[in-house]
C-alpha cells in the first residue's frame, strides 16, 4: 500500500484576477452528501480557483482521469486505484478519509442479520433465507466490497432474490426500500437518506470487511502535459491539510447528528 506523499510541489498562489479552473472527477457519495460543497468552497475562495466537479461514480471517475479529462480524482475503490496508479495514470495518491459500509434491510430483518457475528455471516444468513438483496452492480467501491464479502463467505449469489441494478448508491437504496430488500451502503449516503426510507441499519462495524477508505490522486502530468498538475497538488495538499481534515471531521454533525467521514491524512492503511 502506497504511503501518502508529502505535498512539496505547491506552486505560488495565483494572483491573476480570472479564476483558474480545476477539474475534479469524483464519486457520487462525496457530491450527494454535500461534503464537497463545504470542502471546495473554502479552497476556491482562498486560491481564486473554480473547481469543475464531475460527479460520476468511482469507475467512471477513474476512467475520466485515465483519459486525461480530469486534473484530480477523489474515489473509493482501493484495487482499481492501485491498478491505475500502477499503470502510471495517477500519482500522489493520498489517503484522505474513511467511513464504514453498513448493511441495511427491512426492520423485520427476515434473515436475522442483527445477530450476525461478522459481515460474511450476515451475507450467509441472507443467502440461506434467499431474502431479496439489491446489488449496485456498478463496479463502485461499494460494489467491489460487496463482491469480496460474498467471496469470503464462499457464496456465489444466484437466483431471482439477488438483483443487480447497476446504479448509484442513492437509487440502489431506493430500490431496496421499495422491494424490502437488503443492501450494502456507505454510511454517509444511508444517513443522508434515512428519513425518507423504511430500511434500518442492521449491521455495521466489521473492521475487516466494511471498511471504506477514500483517496484523492492527481492525474500524471507525464502522461497528459496539459493537466493542471500544480493546481491539483495544491488541492490534494489542501484536502489533507489540517484545515481540510477539520472540515471533513465536522461535516454532517449539524445536519445528521453525527459525522459522515473520519479524516485519515497521514494514517497508515491496513
Amino acid at each position: 500500500v502506497q504511503q501518502a506523499p508529502a505535498g512539496n510541489t505547491t506552486s505560488p498562489t495565483s494572483t491573476a484576477s480570472a479564476p483558474q479552473d480545476l477539474r475534479l472527477a469524483t464519486t457520487t457519495s462525496t457530491c450527494d452528501t454535500g461534503l464537497l460543497d463545504v470542502l471546495n468552497k473554502k479552497f476556491e475562495d482562498e486560491n481564486n480557483v473554480r473547481i469543475l466537479t464531475v460527479c460520476e461514480g468511482t469507475g467512471k471517475s477513474i476512467a475520466t482521469g485515465e483519459l486525461g479529462a480530469a486534473d484530480v480524482v477523489m474515489v473509493h475503490a482501493v484495487q482499481l486505484e492501485l491498478k491505475a496508479v500502477a499503470n502510471r495514470s495517477f500519482i500522489n495518491r493520498s489517503y484522505m478519509m474513511y467511513n464504514y459500509f453498513v448493511i441495511i434491510g427491512p426492520e423485520s430483518d427476515p434473515a436475522g442479520i442483527r445477530n450476525a457475528s461478522n459481515a460474511t455471516d450476515a451475507f450467509r444468513r441472507i443467502a440461506a433465507k434467499q431474502s431479496p438483496f439489491i446489488s449496485r452492480g456498478d463496479n463502485s467501491g461499494t460494489d467491489i466490497m460487496e463482491k469480496s464479502i460474498w467471496k469470503a463467505a464462499n457464496i456465489t449469489p444466484a437466483g431471482t432474490w439477488y438483483q443487480s441494478v447497476g446504479k448509484g448508491m442513492g437509487e440502489t437504496i431506493t430500490t431496496a426500500d421499495i422491494k424490502s430488500g437488503y443492501t450494502l451502503s456507505d454510511r454517509g449516503t444511508y444517513l443522508a437518506m434515512k428519513d425518507k426510507i423504511k430500511l434500518r441499519l442492521l449491521f455495521e462495524s466489521d473492521q475487516k470487511y466494511l471498511f471504506n477508505p477514500y483517496h484523492v490522486m492527481a492525474v500524471n502530468p507525464a502522461k497528459f502535459p496539459n493537466v493542471k498538475y500544480d493546481l491539483a497538488m495544491k488541492y490534494i495538499n489542501y484536502v489533507i491539510s489540517p484545515q481540510g481534515q477539520d472540515i471533513i471531521r465536522n461535516y454532517g454533525k449539524d445536519i445528521f447528528g453525527e459525522a459522515l467521514f473520519v479524516p485519515a491524512a497521514g494514517i497508515k492503511e491496513q
Binding site: T58, K60, I62, N139, Y162, Q163, G166, I178
Partner: protein, 244 residues
C-alpha cells in the same frame, strides 16, 4: 489506452457479443425490443386516432391540444420517469398495483414519451393530404372509415416516419425506464457481461451502468448493437416507404 482505442475495442467487443450469441446480451436485447416495441405499438394505436381527431374534428381546445402534443414531443424522460415512479411506489396512489420496477412500468413510461411524438408527426402528414381526395372518397360512396384509410394511404410516408421516430426514440430512451424499471438483472450478470438474465435491464440502461462502471468498451459495444438493431428496422421500413 487512448480514446480511439475504446472505440476500436468496442467494435470488436460488439462482434464478439453478437456472434457468441451471449445469452445475457440476448436477454437485455429481448427486454429492449419487448418494452419499446409494446410501448410504440400502444402509442401508435393512440397517436394515429388522436392525430386524425386533431386533423379533422373541430372541437373546442383543438389548438391548445396541438400545442400540448408538440410540447409532449419534448417531455423530459427523467421527469416522466419520476412522475410514474412516485405514482407507482408502494406509498404512491397506485402503489397497490405493485408495478414499480417491472417491464409494465417501463412500457407505460415510454408510451407517455412516444405518443406525442407519433401524434405530432402523423398530424403534420395527415394535414398535408389534399381535401379533395377525401371528398372524392365520400362522393364515390366511401364512409368516414374509407376516408380515413385513404388519408392513411396518401400520408403513408409521413406516418411511417412518425412511427419510426417513435420507435427510435423508445429504443434509445434511458432516463425514464432507468427510474421506473430499476435496471434489474438476475444473477450472474453482477460484475460484467456474464450469463445473467435481464428482468428490466435494456440495452440503454445497460449502457448507462457499464459507463458508470467505467467500462467504456462494453458500453460502446452495446451501443453498436442497439444501433444495428435500429438500422435493421429502418432498412425494413425504408423498403415499405419506398413503395409509397
Amino acid at each position: 489506452m487512448s480514446g480511439a482505442d475504446f472505440l476500436f475495442q468496442g467494435i470488436i467487443r460488439a462482434f464478439e457479443l453478437i456472434f457468441s450469441l451471449n445469452p445475457y446480451i440476448i436477454s437485455i436485447t429481448g427486454v429492449s425490443i419487448k418494452v419499446s416495441g409494446t410501448a410504440t405499438l400502444l402509442a401508435t394505436l393512440t397517436a394515429i386516432p388522436l392525430a386524425y381527431a386533431l386533423a379533422f374534428l373541430h372541437f373546442r381546445g383543438r389548438q391548445a391540444l396541438i400545442a400540448l402534443v408538440n410540447t409532449g414531443m419534448g417531455l423530459p424522460p427523467v421527469f416522466v420517469g419520476l412522475f410514474i415512479f412516485i405514482m407507482l411506489v408502494p406509498a404512491g396512489p397506485f402503489g397497490f398495483a405493485n408495478k414499480i420496477f417491472t417491464p409494465q412500468a417501463m412500457i407505460l413510461a415510454q408510451y407517455i414519451l412516444v405518443t406525442p411524438i407519433i401524434t405530432g408527426i402523423s398530424l403534420a402528414a395527415i394535414k398535408a393530404v389534399p381535401k379533395p381526395i377525401i371528398e372524392t372518397v365520400y362522393t364515390l360512396g366511401g364512409s368516414w372509415k374509407e376516408a380515413i384509410i385513404m388519408t392513411f394511404c396518401e400520408a403513408r410516408f409521413g406516418i411511417i416516419t412518425a412511427i419510426l421516430a417513435g420507435l427510435g426514440r423508445a429504443l434509445a430512451e434511458v432516463g425514464a425506464i432507468l427510474i421506473v424499471g430499476g435496471n434489474i438483472a438476475y444473477t450472474g450478470s453482477v460484475g460484467g457481461i456474464g450469463e445473467g438474465e435481464s428482468y428490466t435491464r435494456t440495452l440503454t440502461t445497460a449502457i448507462t451502468s457499464e459507463t458508470s462502471k467505467g467500462d467504456i468498451s462494453t458500453s460502446i459495444a452495446l451501443g453498436i448493437i442497439l444501433i444495428s438493431l435500429n438500422l435493421s428496422i429502418n432498412l425494413l421500413a425504408n423498403f415499405f416507404q419506398r413503395r409509397s
